[in-house]
């Protein structure tokens, strides 16, 4: 103890507990305790070269490029793993540090192939750039270089060139730490170390593309982007991804008016730099030959190309004719795939045409008032420090993948207890403290029971067949989390169940535990469309049409110069049901496909068949568009600018980068033209900004949202004028039949939809639909994996192969909603017969029922 020099801990405790003073190359800066030297240096404006360090991953100090000298410290500590201490004096450019940097670069390049001219990374390569800045300028390596077969496929999407790899461990760490899919790893050792997959197990991660972006060299390349461009030929804009409602920030890069690459932007609020592979690679449909390029009208039973004027006149005439029959003779469906501006124009057109029958959701979401007005609403970042997270919704990994990453990170890294309320196990199950697996369609009952239990209401037995032990565990967790910002994530659990009370019971649970609600929706701009008034009971700004308080109605009527209809509007289910009865004169469908993208296919087909006049605004000739009377080609993501609203209510901008094909137009433009023809007033808008300004003026909720405030990744968060307050909840009893199987129809990330089906990147990914059953049910039925069975549903029978999957509880059957279901369906697709209507899971579903059940029959053995 004779040593008078204080230990580092003692020094730290003497300093201000808040900030540490660090001097780097003479520049003094203050940082938070726990800040790494490499981060402090960046803050001080000093770049310390590095390869393996990545701000979103655990530092490993493997590349040894960031070694520095610290006064009074022995050796050469790596800046990426050395935490700052107070009064630390650091040198990053001493002769010895420079010697090390030169040496590391010479060694990294020794075996590097230097095939930069044909490398995708050339021109934007950290290894190139740092060699330029810190390298020795020449190589003394005259030996034969290391050779590997190049490239090898890690998966359908990612290729690996091991000769280029510098073994920084970023991709492998990402796969393990961030994605939770540790499917790539270092094999061999020393000079022969390389990255590889496990035998017969490809790197099939929904997040695999992030490894390409994180790679500091060109070792990992994307199958869709490989050899497509030189980085310096790419132009880019920052935008918001249109694949789901998380709203990840992206960079959209193009050359010669073709989108070639999508990269992630590190937005702390939303995606922290990550993208799912669907968001990253799912853009090729933009340039597909099937894109609609000109308006079409039906003449003598055939759709033929027409001029915009002819098509607009025809559409306006058809709508006006139907409108004479009263508000319920009209139905407007869609908007959730569009920008908020276009959705606003759609909502306005419906109201100007005289109806409140408008819905952005296709009977596949939750109550609109809940989605826009959920209160108190959580942000995505709230998940990081939540006291607990309750997930009652779809499999987030399949439907909102980057939200899944955030929830997983909260659970795994921050230790937030996760309660999953799901009809079957999901991607999150392995991170959940409790998985309350229960009968499909009864999630709301379960949430209400949890809310009751949190308020000490005795429950003798948990509802919906959930396990009593698990329920008790969950109650303990939420009780512990009371009044500490727990987050309840609520969304539609599947398309075969109506989940009618789910928004209300999620709100009830959040209230009971003093927590927050994060409603989730499927399509990218569902929230934006609802905020724009694309719901029968909502006006732009998310105010309640029926209440009419807050002056919203008056403001809107003033902006429109028209009274807003006052009848009680119908939602998508109501509109389609009435249409199927032949009671709807005109349907206007904007990015809404009632045949392939509606939970109840037979009802959708019936509605299309019995509606006199249909206008379809779309990008492809969907089965629905093919049955329409007027078809308008629309511009889409990357081709038009506007704003979108994500699940949090965050408004950010989508920015146009390329021209739409043919004479396609942004939807707001053609909707304005239609509105003008119907109202007899001149069209008003010449740009999306005009639409935005009218919307902001008309909707009080958007008053704070200015063009400036939505620039950038952070955007601005809107709140609905009227918050959601559920009425007394009644859960109608649901009968169970033990001879039947409850249907769970969730969406998979990769499906056969109009968009995904047209992305070559996904072509090799297996999207065959199978029905998944618990092993006990399999043996009860006496069938084996791969055998076809018949599902007898309320609407139709479906022949489909079965697969054992114990993540499905006994008595349920899981079928993917967005995949072609049967082998015979696939054959039909190939032969071209009934190609328009391949059999889908939606054929089974009766959307008017609370739950759907099927009887499973084995097929007679083929003769």
């Amino acid at each position: 103890m004779a040593d008078t020099k204080a230990s580092p801990e003692a020094e730290e405790s003497q300093a201000s507990p808040e900030r540490l003073k660090v001097t780097i190359d003479g520049v003094t800066t203050e940082v938070e305790p726990g800040t790494l030297l490499i981060e402090a240096a960046l803050k001080a404006g000093k770049y310390i070269p590095h390869f393996c360090w990545h701000p979103r991953m655990k530092p490993v100090a493997k590349c040894r490029m960031c070694l520095v000298e610290v006064e009074d410290q022995r050796g050469l500590p790596p800046a990426c793993t050395t935490p700052c201490s107070n009064e630390m004096v650091v040198h990053t450019d001493t002769p010895i540090v420079q010697q090390v940097q030169e040496s590391v670069l010479e060694l990294l390049l020794a075996n590097h192939p230097l095939d930069c001219p044909v490398c995708d990374r050339g021109g934007e390569c950290p290894l190139q750039d740092q060699t330029m800045a810190y390298g020795p300028g020449e190589s003394r390596f005259v030996e034969e270089k290391r050779h590997y077969e190049k490239p090898i496929a890690l998966s359908e999407l990612v290729l690996l060139d091991r000769e280029r790899c510098i073994l920084c461990d970023r991709c492998t760490r990402f796969a393990d730490e961030v994605a939770g899919d540790p499917l790539i790893a270092f094999v061999e050792r020393g000079n022969r170390t390389h990255v590889l997959t496990f035998p017969d197990e490809p790197f099939r991660s929904y997040f695999s593309g992030n490894t390409i972006e994180a790679c500091p060299v060109g070792a990992l390349t994307a199958v869709p982007y490989r050899f497509k461009a030189r980085p310096w030929d790419l132009e880019e804009v920052e935008s918001t991804c249109a694949q789901c409602a998380v709203g990840c920030r992206v960079k959209l890069q193009s050359s010669s008016s073709r989108v070639l690459r999508v990269l992630g932007v590190d937005s702390e609020e939303v995606n922290q730099g990550w993208l799912c592979d669907k968001g990253r690679f799912g853009f090729e449909y933009l340039h597909h030959d099937d894109r609609l390029t000109a308006p079409m009208i039906r003449i003598d039973g055939e759709l033929v190309e027409a001029s915009w004027g002819e098509a607009l006149d025809a559409a306006a005439d058809g709508i006006k004719r139907a409108a004479k029959e009263g508000p319920d003779a009209l139905g407007f469906l869609g908007g959730s795939r569009s920008t908020t501006e276009s959705a606003y124009a759609f909502s306005k057109l419906a109201r100007i045409a005289g109806t409140n029958n408008v819905d952005a959701q296709l009977g596949d979401g939750l109550e609109a008032a809940f989605l826009v007005g959920a209160n108190p609403r959580a942000s995505i970042a709230n998940l990081d420090s939540a006291a607990a997270i309750v997930v009652a919704g779809p499999d987030l990994k399949e439907e909102l993948p980057v939200l899944y990453l955030r929830v997983k990170q909260a659970a795994l890294k921050n230790g937030v207890p996760l309660i999953e309320c799901s009809p079957m196990q999901t991607g999150l199950s392995r991170y959940a403290a409790v998985s309350l697996i229960h009968r499909a369609g009864e999630t709301a009952q379960l949430l209400s029971a949890l809310a009751g239990a949190a308020q000490r209401e005795p429950t003798d037995r948990p509802p919906a067949g959930a396990s009593a032990t698990d329920f008790q565990r969950a109650v303990e967790i939420i009780s512990e989390a009371c009044d500490k910002n727990a987050v309840v994530i609520a969304g539609r659990t599947g398309l075969a169940t109506s989940d009618g009370e789910l928004g209300a019971s999620a709100t009830q649970l959040a209230e009971a535990i003093g927590g927050l609600v994060l409603p989730v929706a499927h399509r990218a701009n569902t929230m934006g469309a609802l905020f724009a008034g694309c719901a029968p009971d909502l006006l732009p700004g998310g105010s309640r049409l029926a209440d009419g308080d807050g002056g919203s109605r008056a403001a809107i009527e003033k902006a429109w110069g028209r009274a807003v209809p006052s009848h009680e509007g119908r939602d998508a289910s109501g509109i389609v049901t009435e249409a199927a009865r032949g009671n709807v004169g005109a349907l206007v469908l904007m990015g809404a496909d009632l045949i392939d993208d509606f939970p109840d296919r037979s009802l959708g087909l019936e509605a299309i068949g019995r509606t006199g006049f249909i206008v379809a605004i779309d990008i492809f000739m969907t089965p629905t568009a093919a049955a329409a009377d007027v078809v308008f080609p629309a511009a889409t993501f990357g081709e038009q600018s506007g704003c979108v609203v994500n699940i949090e209510g965050r408004v950010t901008r989508q920015v146009a980068k390329v021209a739409p094909p043919g004479s396609s137009q942004p939807e707001w433009y053609l909707l304005d033209q239609l509105t003008s023809r119907i109202s007899g007033k001149p069209a008003r808008w010449t740009s999306h900004q005009d639409v935005f300004e009218e919307m902001a003026a008309a909707a009080p909720a958007f008053a704070e949202v200015t063009r400036a405030s939505i620039e950038g990744a952070k955007g601005t968060v809107v709140r609905a004028s009227d918050t959601y307050a559920p009425q007394e909840i009644e859960h109608p009893p649901i009968a169970t039949d033990q001879y039947n199987h409850r249907v769970i129809a969730g969406r998979k990330l990769y499906g056969d939809g109009q968009v995904s089906g047209r992305c070559t990147a996904f072509r090799r990914i297996d999207t065959k639909a199978v029905a998944r059953l618990n092993s006990r049910d399999m043996s009860r039925l006496g069938v084996e994996d791969g055998v076809a069975v018949r599902l007898r549903g309320a609407r139709a029978d479906l022949e489909i192969a079965v697969m054992t999957d114990d993540s499905v509880p006994e008595g349920s059957v899981s079928v993917p909603f967005n995949r072609i279901a049967t082998s015979s369906g696939a054959d039909e697709k190939e032969t071209g017969e009934s190609a328009l209507h391949p059999i889908r899971v939606a054929d089974l579903i009766d959307s008017t029922a609370a739950v759907n059940e099927v009887r499973i029959e084995t097929l007679e053995s083929p003769a």
């Binding site: 490993v60 010895i96 010697q99 003394r140 020393g190």
Partner: protein, 449 residues
């Protein structure tokens, strides 16, 4: 010779528990558990001043004192003996496994540990089998498991076999490997004593160190400290190999000279040949020559002479040895055993090996010798280019662990001692030592595989 640890080696079947007990085995265990507190046992070890026998020579008692008051904590025995030329732990395990088991139990008692692992080199097939039998028999005799010898003390020992990686002898790589991860050294701090196996406080000790513990308990720390020199107490087993007449393990009091070890125990250099060089403390130590042989076998004396005692592997090379080939072979070893995580080691070792091989095969260039030293300085930036190398030149190093620096020593020490011989290879375009042996460089190429 002063045999403490090796006393039972020549006894027939001392690896059997009954034989071991007849020879006084497990008496120290009974003494420790029944008449001493854990603190008293630890104090005896501290008093003995024994320094770790794995290579670093850190005082064991001091290391034990680093454990924070956190439980569970673990004791891991490093039996992954892999340093070229070292074979002392193997003999201890094969012929006296109970000595290690008894030492482990006593050490665990002193450290308040209830779970211990012995990580044994996978290639030691006989040793692992004998050790597993010894552990099984110790359970049977009530020396392991619950309530050992009727006390409150419980201990389980797991014998874990390595899978053939030298780097797993590095204590943090060993812990990663034991956890089922890739055997890669970890960043320090945190040191294992604070955050080791499963992120819990962990003491990692060498087989020889732990095998000495029963003797320290039996005869007292002061007795042990009376052996050896002032800063290097006790006895140490030296694995003598290479060009001597009688290679083998010799346990001597620290302070004996190299000359005595080679001449008195090893019976001199083979065939009356002249001695060329001695690798004094394992493949990673700086080479000695004839004039260094009077250096005492003592941690500090060897360090003062510019090398290190290391694991006690003394490799003798006579005048017929080709320094280039020896260096190439040693660097090949380190290159082959590099875990590959740090750039300088992964790429640098392989590059040095390629250059050395090229010189040995007759394709050397005049600039290659400076290039070698320059590549080495990428791993150890303070490496000098002239004069005899000193161990201190490997500090600082640019890698996580000392495997890379070891390869630099294996290259630079011979290069700087025998530079003319390297130059001669380049000048002749062939290995001068191969002349007259009938071995051509082509043969060597072929045997290199």
């Amino acid at each position: 010779m002063t045999e403490v640890l090796l006393t039972r080696i020549s006894e027939p079947e001392a690896w059997r528990i009954d034989r071991y007990k007849e020879l006084g085995g497990y008496e120290a265990l009974a003494k420790a558990l029944k008449s001493m507190t854990p603190e008293e046992v630890a104090e005896e070890v501290k008093t003995s001043e024994i320094r770790g026998r794995g290579g670093a020579g850190f005082p064991t008692g001091v290391k034990w004192g680093f454990l924070p008051d956190v439980y569970p904590r673990y004791l891991v025995i490093n039996a992954d003996e892999g340093e070229p030329g070292t074979f002392k732990d193997r003999e201890l395990i094969e012929f006296d496994p109970h000595q290690l088991v008894e030492g482990t139990i006593i050490a665990a008692y002193a450290l308040k540990v209830n779970w211990s692992a012995i990580y044994i080199r996978g290639e030691m097939v006989l040793g692992a089998a004998r050790l597993e039998n010894a552990v099984r028999d110790a359970y049977g005799a009530g020396y392991l498991g619950k309530n050992i010898l009727g006390t409150e003390f419980d201990l389980d020992i797991v014998v874990h076999r390595g899978a053939g990686a030298y780097i797993c002898g590095e204590e943090t790589a060993l812990l990663s490997s034991l956890e089922g991860q890739r055997g890669e050294p970890r960043l320090k701090p945190p040191f294992p004593a604070v955050e080791g196996l499963y992120a819990k406080p962990t003491i990692v000790n060498n087989v020889e160190t732990i095998s000495a513990v029963p003797h320290i308990v039996n005869k007292g720390g002061a007795w042990y400290a009376s052996l050896g020199t002032e800063k290097s107490r006790g006895t140490k087993i030296f694995s003598l190999s290479g060009h001597v007449n009688r290679p083998g393990n010799y346990e001597v009091e620290l302070g004996t000279t190299f000359r005595s070890l080679i001449d008195d125990y090893g019976l001199g250099v083979r065939g009356g040949n002249k001695l060329k060089a001695v690798i004094p403390g394992g493949a990673s130590s700086v080479w000695f020559v004839e004039e260094d042989l009077d250096t005492p076998l003592d941690f500090d004396a060897i360090a003062a002479a510019g090398s290190m005692l290391g694991s006690g592997a003394v490799i003798v090379m006579d005048e017929t040895t080709c320094a280039v080939r020896a260096a190439a072979r040693l660097v090949k070893f380190f290159s082959h055993e590099s875990c590959g995580q740090c750039t300088p080691c992964r790429e640098g070792c392989a590059w040095m090996y390629k250059i050395l091989t090229r010189i040995e095969e007759g394709a050397g260039r005049s600039e290659d010798l400076d290039l070698l030293l320059s590549v080495g300085s990428g791993i150890t930036p303070a490496l000098k280019t002239e004069g005899r190398m000193a161990m201190s030149e490997v500090l600082p190093y640019t890698t996580i662990c000392v495997l890379g620096p070891s390869a630099v020593t294996a290259m630079a020490a011979p290069l700087r001692l025998f530079r003319e011989e390297f130059e001669e290879h380049i000048r002749l375009g062939a290995c001068p030592k191969a002349a007259g042996t009938g071995i051509t460089t082509q043969d060597r190429k072929a045997s290199r595989g």
